[in-house]
Symmetry: C2
Subunit: 137 residues, 2 copies
């Protein structure tokens, strides 16, 4: 049996976040001590590690809830779990694509300024007008 603080230290998930996950239905409400404090069993610890890992990978709470439900039915086909992972991969690739466009433009803006005063500053001018942009956005 772990206190919430121990669980937090073991998993690296902050205490208020653990309580939040419980509220959101990702973690089952744990047993309580006589004085109403949460006491966690080991498998709750595993489940929290699962949640943290999924969050670190950028999955939304809702997607994680789905995966947890899926994992409760070990004999069902796993196409849904695969779909969730594939969707997440797709979303990540889209974000990367967008960020790389931004990177290019910011690099141009950030390195392009050789003015000395605000009135000549390329950063300020580039932000003020799209005429200095390479692609549409």
């Amino acid at each position: 049996m772990l206190t919430i603080g121990n669980l937090s230290r073991r998993t690296g998930v902050k205490i208020p976040t653990i309580r939040y996950y419980e509220q959101m239905g990702l973690l089952a409400p744990p047993e309580r001590s006589e004085g109403n404090q949460r006491r966690y069993a080991r498998d709750e610890c595993d489940r929290l590690a699962f949640i943290k890992h999924a969050r670190d990978l950028g999955l939304k709470i809702e997607a994680i809830r789905e995966l947890i439900e899926l994992s409760a039915h070990p004999n069902q086909p796993c196409a849904d779990a695969d779909r969730i992972a594939a969707e997440q991969l797709h979303a990540v690739r889209e974000r990367i694509g967008k960020l790389r466009k931004l990177e290019r433009e910011l690099a141009r803006i950030a390195t392009g300024c050789d003015g000395e005063q605000i009135k000549d500053c390329y950063v300020i001018r580039a932000l003020a007008s799209h005429d200095l942009c390479e692609d549409e956005h």
Copy 2:
């Protein structure tokens, strides 16, 4: 003089967002009609385009506020503006780096499942344990 609706159409910034920017101090409170409706001059339109451009590039409201203040002092040196752009570039590059790690791991997870049932599903197993990860995270 533009109504808020015209300003919105010209800049592509939604009306509630314009009011929000005013509330956040990015846009000066504009003149009002007799009936208390906002009436914008052209330079407000430019400023809003500046804000939108910066937001599209991922700059935070706070950073934009700084830039606006800077641009109000055209004879100051522009090192601060350059710094803000450089910081933003750095942040974008960090986000890209993290996302590419995620991409690699998700690709492995999403394509690695050849099980048919949840209990054999690589997606579920990979999320449950870091043992299947390639790098630390």
